[in-house]
């Protein structure tokens, strides 16, 4: 090493250590080569050709690039056991601090349903015109809760898993997916509770119950889609988590969790009610209600030939407190808003649209999630 080189090096060293003007950088523009020490020591060992070409020639890829869709999906598939193990572990750890432990998984939905029944069933009496209101309400609360909890937990999944994301390389979509599966596991328990409640209110077991399986499957796919969507939004817009509770509460009130949308008595702007009925949350709730509850299938407007007299009877006599079941079921003779025969198509449509849009939206920011 020549003396010249050595002195140049120590000059660079001195400069770096003595400059104390304290500014990290000028905001808004890139400073290049401002105080890069001159000299071949920094470029020693670098190849002569441009580095980008050199990297490409040796088969290196940009670190922060997202993989193409197909290989991303393949990676995701390969991590399936991770996703399942992660979901199970999270589910178990969620209640480890509580004395009652896993019992809360059953108690939480029960208490939820109890509160709503107390307020809307007993105090406000929104139950008018709805047969078997308790089962109707509890089904609505549980089904909506599945989507609601999926929304809330996935909106923070990226920020709360940042250490994991920064430590290990894996397709990030595994995390929102795992969180939805956690909620699905929770939903299975809720369904068990629901079955007990439904049976205790006098609903019969029928083959229609099997329809809850495709309905739940479609709802899960829908939840994964929106989960991926809100996971990305939540990771980039911090204000989102402040806004989310209001969005969800509004969504719950317009989705017929507490009252029957189909049985609303609206003369003008009927299309608004139609829209409410085919909104995804209302749709999945209705499908599961119709599968589980005979009283719902029998009272669905449009399910029997229109009869102005019977419909009117339901509107008057059926809405009295303690109305006999005969009048409650007469809503079947009213006109429908959205054709119940199309509900399954809408349910499939929402699920497919949500998963495709959600996946692409999430995948496009794949390289940025470690940023935090």
């Amino acid at each position: 090493m020549t003396d010249d080189k050595r002195s140049r090096r120590s000059r660079a060293a001195d400069r770096a250590s003595t400059r104390e003007d304290g500014r990290l950088s000028a905001p808004g523009r890139l400073q290049q080569g401002e105080d890069v020490p001159v000299g071949d020591v920094l470029t020693a060992g670098l190849p002569a050709e441009p580095l980008a070409e050199y990297a490409a020639a040796h088969g290196l890829r940009p670190s922060a690039a997202r993989p193409p869709v197909r290989s991303y999906l393949r990676q995701l598939w390969n991590r399936w056991s991770f996703i399942m193990a992660f979901a199970t572990a999270r589910n178990i750890s969620m209640y480890t601090e509580a004395k009652l432990g896993q019992l809360w998984q059953v108690l939480t939905p029960l208490l939820n349903a109890g509160v709503y029944f107390l307020i809307f069933g007993l105090l406000l009496k929104v139950n008018r015109g709805v047969p078997n209101y308790l089962a109707f309400l509890v089904t609505g609360v549980f089904v909506f809760n599945f989507t609601q909890r999926a929304f809330i937990s996935t909106s923070t999944v990226i920020t709360s898993s940042l250490p994991l994301i920064r430590a290990l390389q894996f397709p990030r979509a595994a995390l929102p997916l795992a969180y939805v599966i956690i909620e699905l596991q929770q939903m299975f328990l809720s369904m068990a509770v629901l079955v007990v409640i439904v049976l205790s209110t006098g609903e019969p077991i029928t083959w229609y119950w099997l329809l809850t399986i495709p309905a739940l499957l479609l709802q899960t796919i829908f939840n994964v889609g929106v989960g991926l969507f809100v996971a990305r939004i939540g990771s980039q817009v911090n204000d989102f988590s402040q806004l989310l509770p209001f969005l969800l509460r509004t969504w719950m009130y317009v989705s017929g969790v507490l009252f029957s949308i189909a049985a609303l008595d609206v003369r003008t702007h009927r299309w608004i009610v139609t829209l409410l009925e085919i909104n995804p949350a209302a749709l999945y709730i209705t499908l599961i209600r119709n599968s589980l509850l005979l009283s719902q299938r029998q009272s669905t407007p449009g399910s029997k030939p229109y009869s102005a007299r019977l419909c009117q009877e339901w509107r008057t006599l059926g809405h009295r407190v303690g109305a006999p079941k005969k009048y409650l079921l007469d809503s079947a003779h009213c006109h429908y808003y959205a054709n119940p025969g199309h509900f399954w198509y809408f349910a499939v449509g929402w699920a497919v649209a949500a998963i495709i849009i959600g996946f692409f939206f999430f995948w496009r920011a794949e390289a940025k999630y470690g940023r935090g």
């Binding site: 120590s10 060293a13 190849p47 980008a52 991590r79 193990a85 572990a89």
Partner: protein, 273 residues
Amino acid sequence: MAKPMVVVDDLHIVYRVYGAGGDRGTAATALLRIMGRKTRGNIREVHAIRGMSFVAYRGDAVGIIGRNGSGKSTLLRAIAGLLPPEQGNVYSTGEASLLGVNAALLEDLTGERNVILGCLAMGMTKQEARDKYQSIVDFSGVGEFIDLPMKTYSSGMGSRLRFAIAASKSHDVLLVDEALATGDAEFRVKSHARIEELRAEAGTVFLVAHNLEEVEATCNRVIWMERGQMVLQGEDVIGIIDKYIEASGGAPVARDPVTRERLGSTPRVHAKA
């Protein structure tokens, strides 16, 4: 010539920090900001890496030294692909795994579940994870605490377990960010041995450490960073570290002959010595 594993090409990284100074952070000032269409008045840009270029080859162990805030950890995160570059690019082969000091996996879960989950997340099958389990636990030395939640671990125990999990698989590029700083003497010996093995398995290791002896003992190359730029780099590990110590106002360290022999540096007379 050895195969390049990481190519850093004129890399610039800019952090955007929200809510940094600017106004008093009250609701009124936030409202004024929105009304006045001064969009995002309180964003501050921090130019953390300012044009770095280098190539790391297969079998390299690269030590990165520099003062706090000089951009060392940012550089590692960029190599790992966690920070999108503002300008320039980082190219790497396969997967780069970052092992940071705060990389607690899942605090609420037991060490045991963390081991299994970590293995699965790295892409192992269930069977592979189960096979590796015992060796990971043994390597970490966590012992009977393995069935306690990880949040009850001391920082040393936590980082040992994390290192053991990450090191159970051979990585193309392993980035170690002060992760060994909290280990005890016995663990340091073990982790050095493991890093050597990883290098031998055709991997490249980057090591950020304030403990310069650690860098000397592990690395065959050093990059000295200051304010997001390179000051010196090269294979003269001892020479560069001495310069760094000198620049920080310390006296050069006396090294044992074994280290000198290994790093192949000749004794030099220092100006300040």
